[in-house]
């Protein structure tokens, strides 16, 4: 196989892998928007809390496989609980009146400020780093020289697991049917006897847990400081806008596209790589405001 093709294939695989954490963040955000009509500005901050939790739990050592899985489960669970607290303490108080969209958006902006501001008190101002788990270092090559790192393979597997799990949950379970009913028509769902406030709580817990999961997944590749909250909320918005507000399938397609684009641009025209994210949002929002699969609810 020629050199160029090998390089391109490597970049594509790396891009798909790096798109998986984006999908995990974006799927939570798009679920929350689809069901609750809340533009969750705190989503990047929830991701950041996942990263910091991973830092605290792994305590500077490169973990083994079992330890790392335990840390990921713990971060996911803690963020889920935090999501429950936010829903009951903030969003439920705002309720569902006609002006709730804007009020809840600003309430979540306040939560974003609170979470990213509290980091300095808990973990200090200095950027930290999380050691790479031992089983994730190293790489292997497939098909005559395409290099795949173990990290990429880990992302691919966990992304596929999350995507499969979400589709199963939303399409094949009673819970999923209720969630889709509330997303489609809140009042009709209530009239049919669905406890919408319970569904909203469960969806917010799920979304926050997914953000924490994504944070724990990405912890060893990012510089751990409070700017994670501002950076990753934009990434998550990009995925959600491009995929269509409220569409999980769209978020998957958008996240993988964004991952591949960023990876290819980083190899061939590195000076443009900071702009890729914004160009991607602008182009997709102007051309397909309902998302790449045209399934979003335009809001």
């Amino acid at each position: 196989m020629s050199d160029i093709l090998t390089k391109l294939a490597g970049a594509t695989i790396g891009g798909i892998a790096s798109g998986m954490p984006l999908f995990v963040i974006g799927s939570g955000l798009t679920l929350i928007f689809g069901v609750m009509r809340v533009l969750n500005f705190a989503h990047g901050a929830l991701f950041m809390m996942g990263v910091y939790l991973c830092y605290t739990l792994s305590s500077g050592k490169g973990l083994g496989f079992g330890g790392f899985i335990l840390v990921i489960i713990a971060a996911t669970a803690v963020l889920g609980v935090l999501g429950g607290v936010i829903d009951i303490g903030v969003l439920r108080k705002i309720g569902q009146s006609g002006d709730s969209e804007l009020r809840s958006m600003f309430a979540m902006y306040a939560v974003f400020l609170i979470l990213s501001g509290s980091v300095a008190y808990i973990w200090g101002n200095q950027p930290l780093s999380v050691a790479t788990p031992r089983f994730l270092s190293g790489y292997f090559s497939i098909l005559s020289g395409i290099v795949v790192t173990r990290q990429d393979l880990f992302y691919l597997v966990s992304g596929v697991l999350v995507a499969g799990g979400l589709f199963w949950l939303l399409r094949r379970t009673t819970f999923g049917r209720r969630v889709r009913a509330v997303a489609a028509d809140h009042e009709m769902a209530v009239a049919l006897g669905i406890r919408a406030s319970r569904i909203r709580l469960e969806v917010f817990v799920l979304g926050a847990a997914l953000a924490g999961f994504a944070g724990a997944l990405s912890a060893n590749l990012v510089s751990v400081d409070s700017s994670l909250a501002t950076d990753y909320v934009l990434q998550a918005f990009a995925v959600v806008i491009a995929g269509g507000l409220g569409s999980v399938e769209g978020a998957l397609v958008a996240a993988l596209t964004l991952g591949i684009l960023e990876s290819i641009v980083a190899i061939y025209i590195p000076q443009f790589s900071p702009y890729v994210l914004y160009a991607f949002i602008a182009v997709t929002a102007l051309l397909t405001p309902r998302g790449v699969l045209r399934r979003g609810t335009i809001a």
């Binding site: 006609g98 400020l113 949002i281």
Partner: protein, 353 residues
């Protein structure tokens, strides 16, 4: 034809000569109070504060008055700051400098207003954010603009023969610029332009039936807000003496929304109060807790306001009397009808329960 209809939301505010004099009066009183009480470096803080007041009030004609959710107002704000920083020390007459900055802001907002669809609230928010972030990133790639260090600001040319080197003179200069801008904004708020914006925000279909073009009314609001936000950035940079890329970062656009919400989205003076409260809180905070992050504190206050007092700090106070308007005059009667509106824009999708 469409353009002329749209200009109903854009034309120079008519009405009584005295409309908006309350803005001038308030600015004069605060100007005298600060120059009498504050000294030395604190005056520079007040200059910055005056800039943020103008930033918040001008942004609110987009957010509160016209109901467009913009998350990219920092683009115009920062561009005004950088324009002043670039032109300082080049013998550009100060009298023209702020007019020039206003025009830059208007042109940028006009170009952008033609591209961005303003019908969908969340798309507008995200696209304005993207635009501001693009400019923010561009700053790092242009060495002439100082990259991540930004540009320092030299002393301006004398303003009508008065040197701006002393802090007191600089303060009065910024009071004059901010006061004139607030005067124009206040006249807009109380005029046919302001009524048009409110009409388009509250019920687009009815406004269209009255012959108002929502597209051009929103466009006009965006352009004016862009121009005055650029002037606000120019004032701020005169006070803090350095134009840094952070002025264009998206959290700056978030900060101005916080100011608006703190003070009250439905009150002309609300954002001004919010801006003073915000700058004072962050100033005190960094003074006393130098190691911490003021965001935690600001976020807690914002959360309390959103949950317990959604109309903002000023929302429930009696309105200031509008100087020069007799009771029963045509304009205030219309204006009061507009004031009897919910504290927040009601969304198009869900009817209030």
């Amino acid at each position: 034809m469409r353009l002329s209809l749209g200009l109903r939301g854009a034309r120079w505010p008519r009405g009584r000569m005295t409309t908006g004099l309350d803005a001038i009066g308030i600015c004069l009183l605060i100007g005298i109070a600060v120059s009498a009480l504050a000294t030395g470096p604190t005056i520079a803080e007040w200059v910055v504060c005056a800039g943020y007041v103008l930033f918040a009030v001008s942004t609110n004609i987009v957010v509160g008055k016209s109901g467009i959710l913009t998350f990219g107002q920092a683009a115009y704000f920062g561009s005004g700051a950088y324009a002043v920083a670039l032109l300082s020390g080049r013998h550009f007459p100060t009298e023209l400098l702020f007019v020039f900055v206003f025009v830059i802001g208007c042109v940028m907002a006009a170009v952008y207003g033609l591209i961005v669809p303003t019908r969908s609230r969340f798309l507008t928010a995200v696209l304005t954010l993207v635009f501001a972030q693009f400019l923010y990133l561009l700053l790092f790639d242009i060495p002439a603009l100082g990259a991540e260090n930004g540009l320092t600001v030299g002393v301006q040319e004398p303003f009508f023969g008065i040197s701006l080197e002393s802090e007191n003179n600089l303060w009065w200069f910024s009071v004059i610029v901010a006061g004139l801008s607030l005067f124009v904004l206040r006249r807009m708020d109380r005029s046919s332009a302001g009524l048009t914006w409110a009409a388009v925000r509250d019920d687009e279909i009815r406004a269209a039936a009255l012959g108002l073009s929502s597209r051009w009314a929103r466009f006009a609001a965006l352009v004016y807000a862009g121009g005055f936000s650029a002037v606000a950035g120019a004032i701020v940079v005169e006070g803090q003496l350095v134009a840094a890329p952070e002025l264009l970062y998206w959290t700056q656009s978030g900060a101005v929304l916080i100011m608006i919400l703190l003070g009250g989205i439905r009150n002309f003076w609300g954002p001004a109060v919010g801006a003073v409260a915000y700058t004072w809180l962050t100033y005190e905070f960094t003074l006393h807790f130098s190691s911490g992050d003021p965001d935690l504190f600001i976020g807690l206050i914002l959360l309390v306001v959103v949950l317990l007092r959604p109309q903002g700090l000023l929302g429930a106070l009696p309105r200031l009397p509008v100087i020069g308007h007799r009771r029963g005059a045509a304009l205030p009667a219309q204006a009061e009808a507009v004031d009897a509106e919910p504290a927040w824009p009601v969304s198009e999708q869900e009817a209030p329960q």
